[in-house]
Amino acid sequence: MQGNNGNITFIRDGVRLDGRRVDELRPIKIEVGVLSRADGSCYMEMGDNKVVAAVYGPREVHPRHLQEVSRAIVRYRYNMASFSVEERRRPGPDRRSYELSKVSREALEPVILTSYFPRSVIDIFVEVLQADAGTRTAGINAASVALADAGIPMKGLITSCAAGKVDGQVVLDPMKEEDNFGQADLPIAITPWGDITLIQMDGDLSRDEFRQAVELARIGCGKIYEIQRKALLDRYCQMESAAQEA
């Protein structure tokens, strides 16, 4: 949040730089089961973000001392490809990716039935191939679908979306320019029944604007949830018909 937007007007006549309305998501594309080696996987585009998620497990824990006697542990590794951003980044995790991995794991863990798999681990890997504001939410959405694809028992799908503030107005799903020069960013993740599993915020919001932003992000999540469900259903039908052909 630099808050310093130069002289750009982000919203003109209710329309944003990329033609969206304030409560409109960027185009979303989801493909399920895109990887052979992983137990579950998902490719997702949210606007110009391109992420792949893979799930391995439940499987044995290495190193052993991390294992828990009464439940599976969940690990989440958010990683950006070197070429995913304007200026090449050095490979390997940085402080930002450690934090995002932590909050993303905590966004998903509440719905995973970890007690079914004591002493094991469920590994979630998210690779960001192209980044354009919103990679953590795209990653969580893809990971949630990949978990379902891997057959991991869950109470429900997690869906994630951000709201932002530009030109003093709360907007849904900020893109790169809005994120860089906007006044606030508020990503959330929710369960299908509305519990919040992730919330972060930085920038400048009054208490009213904060509530508006939460409400708007929830609406965004609702729309994404339908796309997630449809993608999983398509995948299921596809596998069914493949099975019948065989």
Binding site: R95, V103, T191, G194, D195, V214
Partner: protein, 258 residues
């Protein structure tokens, strides 16, 4: 990073909680006793030792000239680091900061940064070439719960008493670090539907979920961070935000305003 807590202690605390009580007699929204000593480290440009109940955190601020970031050539730079040294808790291990230490430093950093607490424009020496780097180093000494709020408090208290060491670097007279806002972080934990502020180490061990809310002097919000593997309802979040902003006012007035 939560400590281990015995089942018996947990039951005891849970039963108390059901009766609306906490082990140390506090109300659910009441923080532990706070003390702030500043200027404790003469070798630092600013410093503060914060105690929050039994929790102790030392924050030191060091400054030196350095290069600006390419995307803000005429502004100072803030670098925040937290050391969860093994002296402070049996749960901490030696080594580079893990995800808990990194999250702590980044949330404190965002509070300082997003609130505009430090006037970064006032820390430019030669535009595009040389600016002041402000190092905020958080050193946890005794983790008896809620090191987030203690660290955040220590950071702003240390910044408020920081002198820009211009003379040492041949850059004119020393002057006080220009401060424009006083962000205050307030953290609540949730357990069994109950929300408690400023959890001690046992309460933290019991709870799955924390929410930190950082507010400005004008009552607006500049940072929020949920952590932990539990969930929060929208209403719980709104309530925590409201109490956090209110409580922050009191602390700001009592300890930090000039």
């Amino acid at each position: 990073m939560s400590s281990v807590i015995s089942e018996i202690r947990k039951d005891y605390l849970y039963n108390l909680m059901l009766r609306g009580q906490r082990a140390d007699g506090r109300a659910f929204d009441q923080p532990r006793e706070i003390s702030i000593k500043t200027g404790v480290i003469r070798k630092a440009e600013g410093s503060a030792l914060v105690t929050l109940g039994d929790t102790q955190v030392m924050v030191g601020v060091k400054m030196q000239p350095g290069e600006p970031f390419p995307d803000s050539l005429d502004r100072g730079v803030i670098v925040t680091n937290a050391e969860l040294v093994p002296l402070a808790s049996p749960m901490f291990e030696p080594g580079p900061p893990n995800e808990f230490g990194i999250e702590l430093a980044r949330v404190v950093d965002r509070g300082v940064r997003e609130s505009g607490a430090v006037d970064l424009a006032g820390l430019c020496i030669t535009p595009g070439e040389k600016v002041w780097i402000v190092f905020i180093d958080i050193h946890i000494l005794d983790d008896c719960g809620n090191i987030m709020d203690a660290s955040s408090l220590g950071a702003i208290a240390a910044l408020l008493t920081t002198t820009v060491p211009a003379k040492k670097f041949g850059l004119g007279e020393d002057y006080p670090l220009p401060i424009k806002d006083i962000p205050i972080a307030m953290t609540a934990v949730e357990f069994g539907g109950v929300v408690m502020f400023d959890a001690d180490v046992d309460e933290e061990a019991m709870a799955d979920t924390k929410l930190t809310v950082i507010s400005r002097a004008d009552g607006t919000i500049c940072g929020v961070q949920k952590s932990g593997t539990g969930v929060l309802s929208q209403e719980q979040i709104y309530r925590i935000v409201d109490i956090a902003c209110e409580n922050a006012k009191g602390i700001r007035e009592k300890f930090l305003e000039v």
